[in-house]
Assembly symmetry: C2
Homo-oligomer: 256 residues x 2
């Protein structure tokens, strides 16, 4: 029964898209039915799974703003079992257009309801902000995954993120919880990276995954070929780490 | 006469804050009077110059939303000649609060006018989005600096950024132009980084600085000490590259 995960962190460039794409692909390759919804106007998740954006007539924008049924924009990808709801530049105008709508924070949630049963997992990629698009994702999801880059600046945004998650839980989505914190881009040779990991584990405790995603050039090369790294270079350290993390996400099920 | 530069790119984590902080500091160390305005709710530029955010009563939020004169929030930094207008989490609420104001895109521009004469250069650090805060910075500035990370996903956002700059130029700020494109975090060993550099130079031509900022761990360590890298480790490759780039920015003057 479609479990919805939002991948969130308003700090930019921390690996949200890389996590959404590679976890979704890994879970699909493990035989589950998966949908990836790109809710970022940049559309990186869309091109990360090989969709050519310039040819698209409809996208998630039309679902949110024009109430187009989500099933009309769902596309298959080159990964067996992975579908995607693409995003284009149009989405940049959605926040302003949704601002005055009744229950503007729940538009995505209502759009996902009709197709939720068709998937085992649904992953939402969010933009680097805590605006209306990200709030829609936090309202529509069951659980959040928070990638945190092993860098000093990345620590600063955690308070703001926690406040927003709390606010959404209290007002819009009572069962919302942060299911996983994932440390990303870790270069084990750097003392700073080690310090950041220690601080994050001290702050979040067991929610922090034992899997740490290493800095790995294959992860940044894969999007230029329109493929998740688990297909582009399945033996790379980046692919291996995301497969491990995907197994952890899939084991969430049994905890309910 | 205070020349205002906005450092912009809606793609997250590309080095906007690192560029704003280190160019501002380098220009100040070269003897100019410099103001750094942090217009990002994350407040990374504020902590990047050593300001303790939790102790601040007022910030850029109060300037934008409560019309507090900017001179009341200007702080000195540990860098001789560099002042800062700090940002705190309050700023996260500013976009919604400004949304219905008369000439909401020009609030920052009007706030800077009274203090502009006191500085030779003013640098604006922006959040990873093209919302009202960034539009305010593009409207308040004379020129834009666009950092572009040497990564595939970083290429995707360029069209959207150019559209927004064009729109602001036509409607709000007729003299706005992109003065510098700066390639950041380049690891010269990676083929992908070389390809991205070639594409960016082909697209932007001479606007792309001959200076390329290398990936350099000293740049990411410096903020944890609350110092620009040009103070933390002046001999590092990162500091040297930003000093070079700052010289290029200062030579803009003579071109008017
Ligand atoms: N573990 C890694 N090792 C090396 N490069 C990585 C890794 N994870 C992500 N990258 C690269 O770093 C950049 C930032 O990652 P990504 O775009 O996934 O972050 P994001 O949080 O989605 O960014 P945004 O805030 O703009 O949405 C991308 O170019 C990506 O290819
Ligand atoms: N040349 C570099 N070499 C190594 N690390 C760097 C370099 N430039 C920036 N960094 C680090 O990379 C991370 C992203 O940089 P920075 O925060 O300046 O980007 P940004 O564009 O301001 O991000 P945001 O979109 O969240 O505002 C930071 O942790 C920073 O310390
Ligand atoms: Mg992303
Ligand atoms: Mg920044």
């Amino acid at each position: 029964m479609g479990l919805v995960y939002a991948v969130v962190n308003q700090k930019g460039g921390v690996g949200k898209t890389t996590t959404a794409v590679n976890v979704a692909a890994s879970v699909a390759l493990a035989g589950r039915r998966v949908l990836l919804v790109d809710v970022d106007p940049q559309g990186n998740a869309t091109s990360g799974v090989g969709i050519e954006k310039s040819k698209l007539a409809n996208s998630v924008y039309h679902v949110l703003v024009d109430d187009l049924p989500m099933e009309e924009v769902i596309l298959r990808t080159s990964v067996e079992g992975l579908d995607v709801v693409p995003s284009t530049l149009d989405l940049a105008g959605a926040e302003i257009e949704l601002m005055t709508r009744i229950s503007r924070e729940q538009v995505l949630k209502h759009a996902i309801e009709p197709i939720r049963q068709r998937y085992d997992y649904i992953f939402l990629d969010t933009p680097p902000s805590l605006g209306l698009l990200t709030v829609n994702c936090l309202t529509a999801c069951d659980r959040a995954i928070v990638p945190i880059q092993c860098e000093y600046y990345a620590l600063e945004g955690i308070t703001q993120l926690m406040r927003t998650v709390d606010l959404v839980r209290r007002r819009l989505n009572p069962t919302l919880r942060i299911a996983h914190v994932l440390l990303t881009m870790k270069d084990p040779r750097l003392r700073l990276a080690q310090q950041v990991e220690e601080e994050v584990r001290a702050f979040f405790g067991d929610v922090v995954s034992p899997v740490v995603i290493p800095r790995n050039v294959r992860l940044s090369e894969a999007p230029s070929f329109g493929m998740p790294v688990v297909l582009y270079d399945p033996k790379s350290r980046g692919a291996e780490a995301y497969r491990q993390f995907a197994l952890e996400v899939m084991s969430d099920d049994s905890q309910g």
